[in-house]
């Protein structure tokens, strides 16, 4: 399957959608309108929850804010629905920005709980504010009109709704295929991964959150002018769950899944309303929600992936062409060989009463490979985390390329030129090798939101792709750039992480236990790769447990034991040092 096939399929789908009002009865078209309106929210959630990993129960509140805003403007104040659209979008996005600023630093379930909280609070507000019709809602909302042509019937508003849905899908897929989109897709790998690529995780989360709110606002505006009447009901917590359900049923990570999910849930609900009265007379209202929740729970128990990814597995793979040569991305000025690059001065880190790193000092000079070794529990990982900004030292100073990074955020340290790998490999297992490496180029590229959405980023993308391919070739993984990263054996996954780090054009490469879990053959290959990188004048700091691995590879070694620096020197001196043997080999005898 090629890109052309996909475009053809999209075209056919568009034609079918466009023909629908002429072929189908008005009731079906009304139903499809609702599907389209719900789809927008579900697409937003697919981005927020599926791609970004932020589970929001509160999207219905955003829909409500927009719907009430436009209803207030048009029905109560007699303005045009277009003024309503403006207010709906600005108001919703402003509120979302404020809520996002306040809550998006929350972790895991705390964040989701906060969406429950504001979802409920805003939901209660609609029915209780004077001037918004309380529980009776707002009636006689005017239809949307283009000049004097008003979209009154369901067939008329149909084209607007599905036009918007199609545009949103196009923009959404463009966005996901850009540097910002890749950053969003990396969010699920955890903050440490995202920050290590020079990306501010918080800003990406905020962006994705506001985009989802924007889509919910669009939906709310369409809803208000389509149904011409609003009341608090459709924006309460229950509806928030329903939206979540739509995106999960469709396939949480898939934008198209949002549309499919909205369709399935809406149709299912419709048929439940039709058939339940036949099964249980007089109890349909109650059973509807029961049946619905039960189906949702069953779904979550048995098919968490959703429908679109499930179907996608049976479709032929999209064939892609190898990236072509393109202009190089900008490079940073590398320090002169032998220059002092990193200085750790009296670093100390405590956890409660435990001193994990105790007054450790060492230097790294440009162009050398330095290893920090020590037995398990010696404080190596803590030292590493302090260097990369994942932890802060309690005392001491860390200076990189003449600038103190002691208090810098992880992403700023990464941008300054320290690229790292992880002891427990952090790749995006469902992204291709090429895309994983392209993540590394984030800080070297600059296309913004609008250009990404409108696909104006092709030149820079081509450069980033070519750069990523170049780094893959450099580490020896260049032959199958479109394979899925999760399918690589562990050894190659580590090497892929190195390629990703190299794509950031670092001044210092920091490797966290790169040899752990590797087979002998893989270790040899890794050592060879690191040597070739040194020949390219790259500076490397290795934190490692495996003494054999570092002995033949590095220029100098710093040995830690019980949090303190035991000694420092070239491999031969370290090998013969009595204290090192005692510490390392556990001198029980």
């Amino acid at each position: 399957m090629t890109r052309l096939h996909v475009q053809l399929a999209a075209m056919v789908a568009m034609l079918c959608l466009a023909a629908a009002p002429f072929l189908l009865p008005p009731f079906t078209i009304t139903l499809m309108n609702y599907i389209g309106v719900y789809s927008l929210v579900a697409i937003g959630l697919a981005l927020l929850t599926g791609v970004g990993g932020i589970v929001s129960f509160g999207q219905a509140a955003f829909v409500g804010i927009a719907a009430y805003a436009t209803a207030w403007v048009s029905a109560l104040n007699g303005q045009s629905p277009w003024v309503g659209l403006l207010l709906a979008l600005t108001l919703t996005c402003s509120i979302a920005t404020l809520l996002g600023l306040a809550t998006l630093r929350l972790q895991g379930h705390f964040l989701s709980l906060s969406t429950v909280a504001w979802g409920l609070a805003i939901g209660f507000l609609f029915g209780n504010v004077e001037g918004l019709g309380r529980f009776n809602g707002i009636a006689s909302i005017p239809p949307i009109s283009f000049g004097s042509y008003a979209l009154v019937s369901s067939a008329q508003v149909y084209f607007l709704i599905w036009g918007i849905v199609a545009a949103v899908l196009w923009i959404g897929y463009n966005l996901l295929d850009s540097r910002l989109g890749r950053a969003m897709r990396a969010l699920r790998g955890g903050n440490t991964l995202v920050e290590s690529l020079g990306i501010s995780a918080f800003r990406i989360k905020l962006l994705i959150f506001v985009i989802a709110a924007f889509l919910a606002a669009l939906s709310g505006w369409l809803y208000a002018h389509m149904s011409r009447f609003i009341s608090p009901g459709p924006f309460d917590a229950g509806m928030g769950i329903e939206y979540l359900m739509m995106s999960m049923v469709g396939g949480a990570g898939s934008l198209l899944g949002g549309v499919v999910g909205a369709a399935i849930v809406t149709l299912l609900k419709n048929s439940v309303q039709d058939y339940l009265p036949l099964i249980a007379k007089g109890a349909s209202g109650q059973l509807e929600i029961v049946a619905f929740s039960a189906l949702f729970i069953l779904f979550l128990q048995w098919a968490r992936q959703g429908i679109v990814p499930f179907v996608g597995r049976y479709l032929p793979k999209l064939r892609r062409d190898r990236p072509q040569p393109a202009p190089a991305l900008p490079r940073r000025a590398q320090p002169a060989p032998g220059e002092l690059l990193l200085k750790v001065d009296g670093a100390e880190r405590r956890f409660g009463g435990l001193v994990a790193v105790n007054n450790v000092s060492f230097d790294v000079r440009s162009g050398e490979i330095l290893a920090v070794i020590g037995p398990n529990g010696a404080g190596k990982s803590t030292m590493f985390n302090c260097l990369t900004g994942a932890l802060r030292v309690n005392k001491g100073d860390i200076v990189f390329a003449g600038r103190s990074i002691t208090r810098e955020a992880q992403s700023r340290i990464a941008k300054a030129g320290i690229a790292r790998t992880f002891q427990h490999v952090k790749l995006r297992p469902r992204m291709s090798l090429l895309e994983n490496v392209m993540l590394g180029t984030y800080a070297r590229t600059r296309t913004g939101l609008l250009a990404s959405a409108l696909r104006l980023n092709r030149r820079e993308e081509a450069s980033a792709q070519f750069e990523a391919l170049r780094q893959l070739e450099r580490v020896g993984l260049g032959d199958k750039p479109f394979d899925i990263a999760g399918n690589l054996p562990l050894g190659n996954q580590r090497i892929l992480e190195i390629a990703r780090a190299l794509a950031a054009d670092p001044a210092l490469l920091v490797l966290d236990e790169p040899a752990a879990g590797l087979r002998r053959q893989e270790k040899l290959r890794l050592a060879e790769l690191l040597r070739s990188l040194r020949n390219d004048h790259l500076t490397i700091l290795i934190v490692e447990h495996d003494m054999e691995f570092v002995m033949s590879l590095v220029d100098r070694i710093v040995v830690l034991d019980f949090g303190s620096k035991l000694c420092e020197g070239d491999p031969a001196a370290i090998r013969n040092d009595e204290r090192v043997q005692e510490a390392y080999l556990g001198g029980v005898a």
């Binding site: 705390f110 209660f124 507000l125 209780n128 769950i241 128990q301």
Partner: protein, 347 residues
């Protein structure tokens, strides 16, 4: 606002808060043992009130049917899972635990109801009928995904709440109930009249929290529950079954929620869907304690009660808005003050 009114509001708030506290403690219990944020405890509380009201009216409550339906489902799920793991020898035990036991409880309750029992017996009956619901739901809904993320469990929990609201309407009908007060005594402290019911609520909350404390500190089963909460892997290595610990936690939590339902029924009119707000407010309280501390949860819940009491005096329409808006700063505070390792989100 005069000081008299403030005092009355405060007392009112403490009483409401004590009710929330019982539910909040149950929520913390379940969360620490099973990682499930069990939103439906509020529904359990409301269902208890509705059950008691039905018993008062000499009707057999819908709870009985609900328990029977859930027992059949749970038995089915359990037997299927036993057959899958190739352990058919455990089927009789499953039938006994998941089918015979709940049926026996419902049967006993049905017989006793016929005999026009006194209030004390009706209270026990209501609690007996309500306690199997949460453990059965655990077996049906949560056990198959026990290894899922907190978020998945939360999503399921929220969906489950909606299912229960529907079932509530089906089994109890749309009418609200208000049961007769458990006591008509009242007393005056510092010039302010305090009803016996208020006193009873606070005392009951204290007594049941105290009993729970004793259970945790002085019994091996209680300790095994704490162990599961502190360290799941560690407790499994001791041979403590997380599923069993979960069942006990659900039983205890239901009991606490049931008691709170009984206490609130004479004070507020309870509808089939009243549980949601009770559950959520208890939950706000539980979050004050970071979802892990019992005293923290109790204090938080009482705080919510007092806040609500004052908020409803200022603006009864917006009191819920105020309570839930407050949750956001609390969450931020909790998130900042709790050091937890980053959890990668499930693919």
């Amino acid at each position: 606002m005069t000081s008299d009114i403030a005092a009355i509001l405060a007392i009112d708030g403490i009483a409401t808060g004590a009710v929330y506290a019982l539910v909040a403690i149950g929520t913390v219990l379940i969360f620490t043992v099973t990682r499930v944020i069990f939103i439906p405890f509020g529904d359990i509380a409301a269902f208890t009130a509705l059950t008691l009201a039905a018993l008062d009216a000499k009707r057999f409550p819908g709870t009985g049917t609900l328990v029977l339906v859930l027992a059949c489902l749970a038995t089915l799920v359990e037997i299927i899972s036993l057959l899958r793991t190739n352990e058919p020898r455990l089927v009789p035990r499953a039938l006994l635990l998941y089918l015979a036991l709940p049926c026996a409880i419902v049967g006993a309750a049905w017989i006793v109801t016929r005999m026009d029992p006194p209030l004390a017996v009706r209270l026990v009956l209501a609690l007996m009928l309500i306690t199997p619901i949460a453990p059965l739901l655990d077996r049906i809904v949560f056990r198959p995904i026990a290894d899922g993320t907190v978020l998945l469990l939360l999503t399921v929990s929220v969906a489950l709440h909606f299912a229960l609201v529907g079932l509530g309407l089906l089994f109890f009908g749309p009418e609200g109930v208000r049961t007769e007060p458990l006591t008509s005594l009242s007393t005056e402290i510092a010039g302010i009249l305090i009803s016996g019911q208020t006193m009873l609520i606070v005392i009951a909350a204290l007594v049941f929290s105290g009993l729970l404390y004793l259970f945790f500190d002085f019994t091996l089963v209680g300790k095994s529950l704490r162990a599961t909460a502190v360290n799941r892997t560690g407790s499994r290595l001791m041979g403590i079954r997380p599923a069993r610990a979960g069942t006990i936690a659900y039983l205890l939590g239901s009991l606490m929620a049931g008691v709170s339902g009984i206490l609130i029924a004479p004070v507020n009119t309870v509808f089939y869907d009243s549980g949601f707000l009770i559950g959520l407010k208890a939950f706000v309280g539980a979050i004050v304690g970071g979802l892990t501390s019992y005293p923290g949860a109790a204090i938080g819940a009482v705080g919510v009660g007092i806040l609500e009491s004052f908020a409803s005096f200022e603006s009864s329409a917006l009191k819920d808005v105020i309570v839930f808006s407050l949750l956001i700063p609390i969450l931020i505070w909790r998130s900042l003050s709790s050091l937890h390792s980053e959890e990668e989100i499930e693919e």
